[in-house]
């Protein structure tokens, strides 16, 4: 994989781990820990969405001239996932484990199918179309994703 695809794919996996951690604490009905874990997951997911929406997608759109194409679909899915994230927060606020499990399962599959499309289709197109600015773009995205992604890619 190219540095761009590796960076973004690693960040997908890191988000998976963070959601799994929140799920584990909810299963144990450890609500303070679950709240903390969900907060961390929400921060990571938001950072990922922001990096894509503010940096990667505009570069893609500028390079391809496509503003209503794949990036529009990805943005719409981000919006749906943000709603599911709010539902998770509400379930934790209400200390409702079953509700959390159902919303988490929905979000998890939504995230996975979204990631699959990005990793199999969008990132390869980005790699092809944004090759000449890849170095600078990867550095910028890594900064936006935070230190965790930057360290994971080098480890």
């Amino acid at each position: 994989m190219t540095p761009l695809a590796t960076l973004m794919t690693n960040d997908h996996r890191a988000c998976d781990h963070a959601l799994a951690s929140a799920e584990k604490h909810v299963l144990q009905r450890n609500w303070p820990a679950a709240r903390l874990a969900l907060g961390r997951f929400a921060d990571m997911l938001s950072a990922h969405f922001d990096a894509e929406e503010q940096t990667l997608f505009p570069r893609f759109e500028a390079a391809t001239g496509m503003t209503g194409g794949p990036t529009a679909v990805m943005r719409a899915e981000h919006a749906e996932m943000r709603i599911l994230l709010d539902n998770l927060q509400a379930a934790i606020d209400g200390q409702d484990g079953d509700e959390f499990a159902g919303e988490a399962e929905t979000l998890l599959i939504m995230i996975q199918q979204h990631n699959m499309k990005e990793e199999n289709i969008l990132y390869p197109i980005c790699d092809a179309r944004l090759a000449e600015q890849a170095g600078e773009l990867v550095t910028l995205l890594a900064e936006q994703l935070g230190q965790r992604a930057a360290t994971e890619i080098t480890s």
Partner: protein, 430 residues
């Protein structure tokens, strides 16, 4: 027309009713297999009894092929960017042809009426040819991205496997009804047909799908790249070599390649079990356990094929058939249905701007778990029934109930989806 974004949008995916019709009719064929066994438990005595042939094809065509073609309508656009031009028409014609063809073929086996066998074989041949042409057309117009996964390529290989399996099946129908046999031994031809259907088509399709959905649904790391790059092409190459050995009358060569093929096939379930052991989920769900059991059943089925290859004792073939068809492919398919159907219902409602219940409300975990436990019990009872014929009644009854329960669970999701849609459109109609 293709674009770089093809496959990324929901407009590229078919309406829910396209795959759903396959998923809802499949359990009914499986239930019919249960009914047959309940009526005549002695049919497990040999792979050659008309009843055994009927059951095998109810499970292989009526259940597995139904689910697999329905799933392909959904998967090809999303995974490979290959959208069918008229998904509803393809779904409608394929579904009707598959249901009618499977039914006619099975009735042909049971009654021995040549016209029914010919009608079944002919209908299935035409239906599959139509589906394969539509799929090839969709793939041809897919965008050529350098996607990192091997799933699109392996889906194409599996479709090639389906074509060969279908042609061999059609040739067998003609051999049975008109005596127009290929110049090879009939039993060998049946073995080749089964080999292409089970490995060339179903095995490669399951693997191609698993490369994507096992990490996705069970939150595991990705499969090793070397495995996904080589497994399917190697399996197909070895399958062809085994065919050549079988057809050319070189029994020792065919035996060695056959055993190598079994060993290579076993790599997939072994690798999947290893992936599942590395899941990042804190509490695996019912579908996770069902998929694991399916992989164990595949391994056991492949193991049973070793004595089946080395001896003439037919019960090893029957045991392998039960383990592979019902335990392995049947179990994996059920596990996937429990993930795919509620999610698609949720997705289609959400995309229509309707507030959808979450997937666990659409398909309560307890319901899925209980049904999947009965599936496991059915598998056990089928194996017991091989040794205690009277237990065949129980195995048949369990298969019947388990299949209808699966249908009920899936239909419940469809009912909620339909009700929510109707509730949304009702005020607008006033």
């Amino acid at each position: 027309m293709s674009s770089p974004g093809a496959g990324l949008g929901y407009d590229a995916t078919p309406p829910f009713s396209a795959p759903l019709r396959f998923f809802l009719s499949a359990p009914l064929f499986s239930a019919a297999a249960g009914g047959l066994l309940l009526a005549d438990p002695g049919l497990l005595a040999s792979r050659w009894t008309p009843g055994a042939l009927a059951i095998v094809h109810l499970l292989a065509l009526g259940f597995l092929l139904q689910v697999m073609l329905g799933a392909l309508l959904q998967i090809l656009p999303v995974v490979a960017g290959a959208s069918f031009r008229a998904p509803l028409r393809v779904a409608g014609l394929t579904h009707a042809g598959l249901c009618a063809g499977s039914l006619a073929l099975v009735l042909g086996f049971l009654t021995g009426i040549p016209a029914l066998l010919q009608a079944g074989g002919g209908l299935l041949g035409i239906t599959l040819a139509g589906f394969l042409i539509a799929a090839a057309n969709a793939i041809r117009h897919a965008p050529g991205t350098a996607a990192p996964g091997q799933t699109p390529r392996d889906l194409r290989l599996a479709l090639g496997g389906l074509l060969v399996a279908a042609m061999l099946g059609l040739a067998l129908t003609l051999a049975l009804t008109r005596g127009w046999g290929l110049p090879i031994d009939f039993v060998q031809q049946v073995n080749l047909h089964a080999g292409w259907a089970m490995l060339g088509w179903a095995g490669i399709l399951l693997a191609a799908t698993s490369w994507v959905v096992v990490p996705m649904f069970h939150i595991t790391p990705a499969y090793p790249v070397r495995l996904t790059r080589w497994w399917a092409p190697l399996a197909l190459a070895l399958l062809i070599i085994w065919n050549v050995g079988t057809v050319s009358g070189a029994p020792a060569f065919a035996l060695v390649t056959g055993l190598l093929l079994l060993a290579l096939a076993a790599v997939f379930p072994l690798a999947t079990l290893r992936q599942q052991a590395r899941t990042r989920r804190s509490q695996p769900d019912a579908a996770f356990g069902a998929f694991r059991l399916a992989m164990i059943a595949l391994l056991a089925g492949l193991t049973a094929l070793i004595p089946a290859t080395l001896t003439d004792q037919t019960h090893w073939h029957v045991l392998a058939g039960i383990l592979l068809l019902h335990g392995g492919f049947g179990g994996a398919t059920r596990a996937m249905l429990y993930k795919i159907v509620p999610f698609l219902a949720w997705l289609h409602l959400t995309q229509a701007g309707i507030k959808a219940p979450n997937v666990r409300k659409l398909m309560p975990e307890a319901q899925a778990r209980a049904q999947l436990r009965l599936h496991a019990l059915t598998l056990l009872s089928l194996i017991v029934a091989m040794f205690i014929p009277l237990a065949g009644h129980l195995a048949g009854a369990l298969l019947f109930v388990e299949s209808l329960w699966l249908w009920w669970n899936l239909a419940s999701v469809a009912r909620i989806w339909h009700k929510q849609q109707a509730a949304r459109s009702a005020p607008a109609a006033v």
